[in-house]
């Protein structure tokens, strides 16, 4: 098992003929992911190495049975790309694009509410179920199949955490970057729910950062519904208020969104909080002490 992506995942890459799109489509295929199609409007009929390119997602889904989309479309057109994937019947859409206007995402979410398409991101590294499928831009080789589920708002910070765990022999069931934007398709609670229900996942790593209240909401959910051990880390304890720390969503505003509040809430919910330098060791200690 694992969550969201696995051996049955069949990927269509939107924006496949772009520089990033083609690079990562091939990297995903090389990892062993079934990348069955690409889409670039107007370039249908071409190939990106062995990947056939279609004009529309609907056609790609019809011809190849793609059930998952990986989106590399520029910010101005990304909302359109997400809704095209949903309309074509794709079940999981992973949007890597950074810089989508907030109001575009608000509209997208209003439409997706009545759809059975789950959006991951935007502004995220994607999803990997090590040994099965990589649908994203993360370096595949640092991952190791295993039983820890990981959910994070950040990209490279996630790689750091995964790397530490893999070096200590701790593998991962699925790692999901949910994205650094204020409005995202899938939040911590959605992922906690999936990990709690997944038999392969024995423990969860949650990596948050300043801005918003998603970590506080996750804490409330954990204390009521999550029985698996959770290790947590929050980035941005030294971040000044009122400044956007790289991610569009990483901002302390009006006294809310502070790291200290998030750490307190998660600790209160029974999450083992750690520092980034000691994350791997903490996971080892917490998981090792289980009987």
């Amino acid at each position: 098992m694992s969550v969201l992506v696995n051996n049955d995942t069949r990927v269509v890459v939107q924006g496949v003929t772009g520089k990033e799109g083609s690079f990562h489509a091939l990297a995903c295929a090389q990892y062993g992911t079934k990348v069955v199609a690409g889409v670039t409007p107007g370039k249908g009929g071409q190939q990106v190495e062995a990947i056939p390119v279609f004009n529309t997602v609907a056609q790609a889904v019809k011809d190849t049975g793609a059930n998952t989309s990986l989106i590399f479309v520029p910010p101005a057109f990304a909302a359109d790309a997400i809704l095209e994937a949903a309309a074509a019947g794709v079940k999981v859409a992973v949007c890597i694009t950074e810089g989508i206007p907030t109001l575009d995402m608000i509209k997208v979410m209003a439409v997706l509410k009545d759809s059975d398409c789950r959006l991951i991101g935007p502004n995220c590294p994607g999803i990997i179920s090590p040994g099965q499928a990589k649908v994203g831009i993360m370096p595949g080789h640092i991952h190791k199949p295993g039983s820890m589920g990981l959910v994070s708002r950040s990209g490279t910070l996630t790689y750091e955490a995964v790397h530490q765990m893999s070096l200590l022999g701790i593998g991962q069931s699925t790692c999901v970057g949910i994205g650094g934007d204020p409005i995202i398709g899938t939040n911590f609670i959605d992922m906690l729910q999936l990990f709690q229900a997944d038999p392969q996942t024995e423990g969860i790593v949650l990596i948050g950062e300043i801005g918003g209240a998603a970590e506080e909401e996750a804490a409330a959910f954990i204390s009521r519904h999550v029985s698996k051990p959770v290790v947590g880390f929050i980035a941005g304890q030294t971040a000044p208020p009122g400044k956007r720390m790289g991610h569009a969503g990483a901002i302390i505003s009006g006294g809310s969104g502070k790291a200290s509040d998030k750490i307190a809430a998660l600790t209160q919910a029974g999450v083992t909080m750690t520092t980034i330098g000691e994350l791997g060791q903490t996971v080892k200690r917490v998981m090792g002490s289980r009987t």
């Binding site: 990297a27 910010p75 990209g155 490279t156 950062e209 980034i276």
Partner: protein
């Protein structure tokens, strides 16, 4: 992106949100002229800086005559205004807004923000105007009425009425209130605002509703479709290094410590700052050179970091995933030679081709301290600058 009050009010007017009559002035003479052209006194002279708390800091004054407007503008223009939002260094005032003073009956609050949890714009209204909304939310949350707006329908009439009746507004003011709210929402959407705040929204003695103050922020991600708004940005309000960094597409934020940090990825950059602090030093900046940090990005990053004279050492923390460590190491060596870095550099590399990367650094003939891991890097840099 933030803009000045006078710019916000010019935009409000275009969307039929009523504002007091007035205009901006760069000099005391111009300020007088604005006052002379207004129907009658008294007047208000308001310092134009982005930070709030201007009144308490002495940046907002009332004047009875155009003479007094000129005198007050002379005092305010050029002053360094310190408020709770500017930090102790304050902000120099380059412009004043001169307006007709109002006879105020009631002060209300009206604000629109995208709500992250709901994934929708939320309109907030409160009878407790003139106070910071965060303070009202903390002390008397029952005074804030909220309406979440479906982006597909927009703000419906009943929602505007719920807000107006919810704060106990005189039913005689229902029409102006509803149109005020609807027009503000229309602007929020049309201009891709990330905040539209009218505080206070005043009811005047003669029964008018006016935006006495206005704060508009725009979504940086949407600037590609609002080139006219981008021109409203005031570089004087930005840190010069932050302004420079943005030109090179670097995410840089200046802080007060002495350890410069160059990191790939926003989350990792924040985590690195936290580690520097935990090791007993203070970070001088946040800098995300991006997931695919190129030699050019690294070179520009060095220039920006070293533009801050407080920096006594630089910590480079790169997790090379897609980006190979050997490529990055060559970039760092090249950059250090070009920029002629004179402070100690601690490098922590991890990921693809890390061994080759470390070797390039060690055989470069330049003095790098290579750290084993993040923890080690932060400790080493703290010792070097301590």
């Amino acid at each position: 992106m933030k803009i000045h009050e006078y710019q916000a009010k010019e935009l409000l007017k275009k969307f039929n949100v009523p504002v007091p009559e007035g205009a901006v002035a760069d000099t005391n003479r111009e300020a007088r002229q604005v006052a002379e052209e207004l129907p009658a006194g008294p007047f208000v002279v308001k310092a134009q800086i982005h930070a709030g708390g201007r009144g308490k800091g002495g940046g907002i004054k009332t004047a009875a005559t155009p003479d007094e407007v000129e005198r007050l503008a002379d005092q305010i223009l050029g002053m360094t205004l310190v408020t709770h939002q500017t930090g102790p260094e304050g902000q120099v005032v380059n412009q004043v807004l001169v307006e007709q003073a109002q006879e105020i009956e009631r002060e209300l609050y009206l604000g629109i923000v995208p709500d992250r949890s709901l994934g929708r714009p939320v309109i907030m209204m409160s009878a407790a105007g003139g106070m910071e909304i965060e303070e009202v939310a903390a002390r008397t949350p029952e005074l804030i009425i909220k309406e979440a707006i479906n982006p597909i329908t927009g703000c419906m009439g009943y929602q505007a009425r719920n807000l107006a009746f919810g704060i106990g507004l005189d039913p005689k003011l229902l029409r102006p209130a509803v149109s005020f709210i609807e027009n503000l929402y229309r602007m929020f959407i049309a201009l891709d605002c990330s905040l539209a705040e009218i505080n206070p929204l005043v009811v005047t003695k003669d029964g008018k509703m006016l935006a006495l103050d206005a704060k508009l922020n725009f979504d940086d991600n949407a600037m590609f479709r609002h080139h006219d708004l981008a021109a409203l940005e005031d570089p004087a309000e930005m840190d010069p290094l932050e302004f420079e960094a943005r030109k090179h597409h670097l995410n840089y934020i200046r802080l007060s410590g002495n350890v410069g940090a160059m990191v790939n990825g926003a989350g990792l950059a924040m985590a690195t700052m936290d580690l520097i602090k935990a090791a007993g030093a203070e970070p001088a900046n946040f800098l995300d050179v991006g997931g695919g940090a190129s030699a050019e990005m690294v070179t520009n990053g060095f220039r920006i970091i070293l533009g801050d004279p407080n920096v006594k050492g630089v910590l480079i923390n790169i997790f090379g995933g897609i980006l190979r460590c050997d490529v990055l190491a060559s970039g760092v060596v090249e950059a250090v030679k070009t920029v002629q870095v004179k402070v100690p550099i601690i490098v922590r590399l991890e990921g693809t081709n890390v061994e080759q990367g470390r070797e390039i650094l060690q055989t470069s003939g330049l003095k790098f301290t290579v750290a084993a891991d993040m923890q080690d890097a932060a400790k080493k840099v703290a010792v070097l600058v301590g």
